[in-house]
């Protein structure tokens, strides 16, 4: 052994290639160790990602289903006239509904004791809904009407596992014994789970009605904000970058501007929010909570991102292309617009879409311009009012839901996050597709 060591240390380069010397062994094991560190780091990252997606899906998917009560019955002309002549009209319809439900249960030979209050606790008071169905179109009277009524959020929670008999001991909204009826109705197919379209297309509901809450209006709000961001930040950002990168002299002023653009990219978004509140709402008098203001604030926030990525992709265009254009007598502007800009386009588009995606998920500035703290119950009536009417935006709506007391809103918030993530994934996919497309042209 000592003899061996001497050979390895003294004349390593003369030793056999098939036999690794100490130095090589050390180097190889260091390399192997580093590779293992990398793989461990990667697996931790992947694990976190899986955990994140699993928990989002687990908590958010119930928001997309809705417990509904299906009842079919006929309201005869006499019943209709009688109900309409009463003082408490909706109560009369409520009674018709309860009777119909009784009939359904009898038809299925289900025997269970319950009272009117139980039914109210399970489906609320659908009398008004039923009445307006008939008064809207009186020809519906006398014909078979099928109703799909949404069950209360506690019943929803019971099916999602959020509500149990034990947790209902002190509840005044739903009693543990009511669940016997729920089970019976479920077994007989009167209560079932349906896809909750209202969650995607509907508007926000009041604080006590998580079942009726939908993200639709705030998706529209976000859409109008993104229109503002796209049509302001893309031209301004690209024009600023082209000027800075291609035309501006390199001096202390442009250096100063450059440094500050990088600084702006790092400014916390809430600062842009309070700036927007002060400048756009308090000073310029633009309407509060409007997607227009939100879009302006997010434009300020997105501009540095777009400018930085656009400048990087302009700088990546080889100078030989500029020389070639200038060499055949193109002006500076021709060389930029005919040759440099088309080559930089994939990078610019990618940067813009990434900036938009970032803006889409931004919440903090929206809090300050009043996009939370009210119930966005209405869709805008037209294209122009889409910019100026008070509306919420997806992340602001999710924030609003998350801060409401009813646990039913908790799963709505998670469901909203799923929709938001779908939008972001779509945008990133578009960015990737556009980049591939443009790069493949040659």
């Amino acid at each position: 052994m000592p003899n061996d060591t001497k050979i390895l240390n003294g004349a390593s380069h003369r030793s056999l290639l098939s036999k690794q010397d100490a130095h090589t062994q050390k180097r190889n094991s260091a390399e192997k160790r580093f590779r293992i560190y990398g793989m461990v780091a990667l697996s931790i990252g992947v694990l976190f990602l899986i955990f994140l997606f699993a928990s989002i899906l687990r908590s958010g998917l119930p928001a997309f289903t809705q417990t509904v009560v299906n009842v079919e019955f006929v309201v005869s002309q006499e019943e209709f006239n009688k109900a309409e002549s009463k003082m408490l009209k909706t109560k009369a319809y409520q009674d018709i509904f309860v009777a119909a439900l009784n009939a359904e249960l009898e038809k299925r030979n289900v025997e269970i004791a319950y009272d009117k209050k139980t039914i109210e606790r399970i489906v609320g008071k659908p009398g008004g809904t039923i009445r307006s169905y008939f008064t809207e179109d009186p020809s519906r009277v006398g014909r078979l009407a099928a109703f799909e009524l949404t069950a209360s959020s506690r019943v929803d929670g019971y099916f999602n596992g959020r509500v149990t008999r034990e947790s209902l001991v002190d509840s005044r909204f739903l009693k543990a014994v009511d669940l016997d009826l729920v089970d019976a109705l479920h077994a007989s197919g009167i209560i079932r789970q349906a896809f909750n379209w209202n969650f995607i297309t509907g508007t926000d509901s009041g604080v006590d009605n998580p079942g009726g809450a939908g993200l639709g209006a705030s998706v529209i709000g976000s859409f109008f904000m993104m229109l503002v961001v796209l049509f302001l930040s893309l031209p301004i950002g690209v024009a600023a970058s082209i000027y800075l990168e291609e035309f501006a002299p390199k001096n202390r002023w442009t250096d100063f501007i450059e440094v500050n653009i990088s600084n702006l990219a790092a400014v916390p978004s809430i600062v842009f929010g309070i700036l927007g509140l002060a400048v756009f709402i308090q000073f310029a008098g633009l309407p509060q909570s409007a997607p227009l203001v939100g879009g302006l604030v997010l434009t300020l926030m997105t501009l540095p991102t777009i400018i930085i990525s656009t400048r990087a992709s302009l700088a990546a265009v080889p100078p030989s292309i500029r020389d070639a254009a200038l060499g055949v007598g193109a002006s500076k502007m021709q060389s930029v617009f005919h040759h440099v800009l088309p080559l930089a386009m994939p990078g610019i588009l990618t940067g813009t879409i990434i900036g938009l995606a970032q803006a889409l998920g931004e919440t903090a500035p929206l809090l300050l311009i009043g996009m939370v703290g009210f119930v966005a119950r209405e869709y805008p009536d037209g294209f122009m009012s889409g910019f100026t009417d008070a509306n919420s935006a997806m992340p602001a709506q999710i924030y609003t839901w998350a801060s409401r007391a009813d646990p039913g809103f908790y799963e709505k918030a998670w469901g909203g996050i799923i929709i938001l993530l779908l939008f972001l994934i779509t945008m990133n996919a578009i960015a990737i597709i556009l980049r591939r497309r443009f790069e493949r042209r040659w």
Binding site: P318, A325, G327, V328, G329, A330, H338
Partner: protein, 265 residues
């Protein structure tokens, strides 16, 4: 305007295309070109030789004012093409560059089709009134660039898909398409293999019939093969200028001799 100048040219200068007088170039504080005075003849290939960093490319780029694009670069002195001072404030560098074509060291076709590469210059200068005329210009330029036969069947294929030598000839065709008077070539063969180099050199010899060609080269053999006049630059100064045969066989300045025999550079 042009007529007038031509008259002046015929009378005042005898076959001299470019005349530079006391040209100084500064890169910031660095004095890159010192007192260069040279007269370059029409319908002649003039080679600029010299060791790296001697200023030959810098001087070449003064002739079509490509140095304007470098912020810190400053040119002093007088360069005249056909008697007109190209550093006159009234001169538009863009117009100048259409008259003085340039071919660069690395082939740099636009990432467009072969046709569009050649047609770009005529298009922006409005040299063709219609598609037929443009087609004609493209064909003529590609023929002059000695590449027509190789690309005539794939004019709409990307220019970047050609081989290095073909790309460089395409760039020459592109430079010719704007109908320049002078063609500047900045080491046009340094990125090419010997066969492509031979083709380009042959082309340069052809071009001599119609243009005043100025070529910067590192290869003294190339200078000897293609040029009629040679200028030797050293450390920013023009050391010696004369007939190529005289420079290579009987140099006057000892520095030229050292360079040619391989002792400096």
């Amino acid at each position: 305007m042009r007529e007038e100048i031509n008259v002046e040219t015929d009378v005042a200068v005898n076959n001299v295309k470019i005349s530079a007088k006391d040209v100084q170039v500064f890169y910031g504080d660095n004095h890159a070109i010192k007192d260069v005075t040279v007269e370059i003849e029409d319908k002649t290939v003039t080679a600029f030789i010299g060791p790296s960093g001697c200023g030959k490319s810098t001087f070449l780029r003064c002739i079509n004012r490509m140095n304007d694009t470098i912020d810190v670069c400053r040119v002093v002195g007088d360069i005249r093409i056909d008697g007109e001072n190209i550093y006159d404030p009234k001169i538009d560098p863009v117009q100048l560059r259409a008259k003085v074509g340039m071919v660069f060291q690395k082939p740099n076709p636009f990432p467009k089709s072969i046709y569009d590469n050649v047609a770009y210059g005529p298009r922006i200068h409005g040299l063709a009134r219609n598609k037929a005329e443009l087609d004609e210009i493209v064909e003529r330029s590609l023929r002059s660039g000695a590449i027509w036969d190789e690309v005539k069947d794939r004019l709409h294929a990307p220019g970047t898909g050609l081989s290095g030598g073909q790309q460089q000839r395409l760039c020459i065709a592109r430079a010719i398409a704007t109908e320049p008077n002078v063609l500047l070539m900045d080491e046009p063969c340094s990125a090419l293999d010997p066969i492509a180099t031979a083709q380009v050199e042959e082309l340069i010899d052809e071009l001599r019939r119609s243009y005043s060609v100025v070529i910067v080269t590192h290869s003294m053999q190339q200078a000897a093969r293609v040029s009629q006049k040679t200028a030797f630059f050293h450390l920013g100064s023009l050391v010696e200028y004369g007939e190529t045969s005289a420079i290579f066989t009987n140099p006057i300045d000892p520095r030229t001799e050292s360079y040619i025999t391989g002792r400096i550079g």
